[in-house]
């Protein structure tokens, strides 16, 4: 048990996927302008990434490996993720409309979120077992959500500040992300 707790803390703080591994930066900058959208995106990513991590792991172990088709990994994973996102969207619309209205518009965006495919590939490359796959998918996606919400909070304050014209929007966003990343740097060596 302790090993898994350590893994989760490591994925959230030390190896934060956004700020340390540079994955998923497009939605990071795109959806962080308002707190509401950031929370929606963060929840959608946690939800989909855990499911996608499990399903791609099963695909790899029971479909690609026995058939010797590992070279098709990239393509099959992206197709599986796209289908999964579509399926989750339809399922939520029918059975949990409240959650659907919350996550709705962020779900289709997740297909091209490189954090999702990235974590699925990391799980395979690191040769995690089934339980470790669940833990790492959960840890990474929580880290993504955590950093995204923190960043949205900072960015809402920037809206009130007077920023030079050339630095506005994405530019100041990136510099701020750098500062946030510097703060997360302090966790390095903790585990």
């Amino acid at each position: 048990m302790g090993e898994y707790v350590q893994m989760i803390i490591g994925f959230i703080l030390v190896n934060n996927i956004l700020l340390m591994q540079y994955l998923g930066n497009c939605p990071f900058l795109g959806t962080s302008k308002r707190m509401e959208t950031a929370v929606g995106m963060a929840m959608a990513v946690v939800f989909v990434l855990v499911l996608a991590g499990v399903i791609t792991w099963v695909t790899e172990m029971y479909l690609l490996k026995p058939l010797g088709l590992e070279y098709l990994r990239t393509m099959s994973f992206i197709v599986v993720i796209a289908a999964l996102v579509q399926f989750v969207e339809m399922f939520l619309k029918k059975s949990v409309p409240a959650l659907y209205t919350g996550l709705g518009i962020y779900l289709p965006l997740i297909t091209t979120n490189c954090a999702v495919l990235g974590v699925c590939l990391i799980n395979i490359n690191e040769e995690y077992n089934f339980l470790q796959t669940i833990v790492s998918s959960f840890g990474y996606s929580t880290g993504f959500g955590f950093a995204l919400i923190l960043f949205a909070g900072v960015r809402e304050r920037i809206l009130l500040a007077r920023v030079p014209k050339a630095l506005q929007d994405t530019s100041i966003g990136l510099v701020t992300a750098g500062m946030l990343s510097l703060a997360f740097f302090g966790f390095k060596g903790m585990i």
């Binding site: 540079y22 994955l23 070279y71 197709v79 796209a82 990391i122 530019s171 510099v175």
Partner: protein, 197 residues
């Protein structure tokens, strides 16, 4: 016709240079710009994928039904990404190891998908090829510039060769994650200042 082809090519180099003007494909830009060598390798891989996928999408644009076009684009792009991955594994193995996960991630790098949707699906093969080549080179150029800055200041080297004298203290901040964000942000700022005439 020749003139418009040139225009399609040139716009990718400055007017629509991908990471700065379109703010697409940021993750690999940040991750592989630690050294110039990685950046050039990644740039070439992206050019290849972008040109090939643009050509194929343009060639198939009359056959692909518009309702499932995104899925078709992704499959086309994934095919070429696998080709690049296997080629790099076979011929440039050390570089393949260094770029690691970021080669398969070209699939979800928004640039090829964005160009397929915004350009190749509506235009002919030659124009799409020119568009892909221009944007690909623009992308590779910005990667190279960013990685040059980071490698020279962060490590004191350029393509592995030492630039400064032995007394130079490398500015480690630049090669680590925070430096990547700050450096890209400042480059974007300079581009904004220059672009507004």
């Amino acid at each position: 016709m020749a003139k418009t082809l040139t225009q399609e090519f040139v716009k990718g180099l400055w007017a629509e240079i991908p990471p700065f003007r379109l703010v697409l494909g940021l993750c690999p830009i940040l991750a592989v710009s630690k050294t110039v060598e990685n950046a050039v390798g990644m740039g070439i891989a992206v050019i290849f994928v972008l040109v090939c996928s643009n050509i194929l999408v343009a060639a198939l644009r009359k056959i692909i039904p518009s309702k499932v076009r995104i899925a078709c684009f992704i499959i086309v792009i994934a095919t070429f990404v696998i080709v690049v991955e296997l080629l790099m594994q076979a011929y440039t193995y050390p570089l393949f190891l260094k770029l690691g996960i970021f080669i398969p991630l070209i699939v979800v790098n928004c640039i090829p998908l964005g160009r397929a949707e915004a350009f190749a699906y509506k235009n002919g093969i030659a124009a799409s090829a020119a568009d892909g080549l221009g944007l690909g080179i623009g992308y590779a150029m910005s990667l190279t510039v960013l990685s040059s800055i980071r490698e020279v200041f962060g490590n004191g080297t350029f393509l592995g060769a030492t630039v400064f004298g032995p007394s130079f203290q490398p500015f480690k901040f630049m090669v680590e994650a925070p430096g990547a964000f700050v450096c890209l942000g400042l480059m974007l700022c300079i581009m904004n200042a220059m672009g507004k005439k």
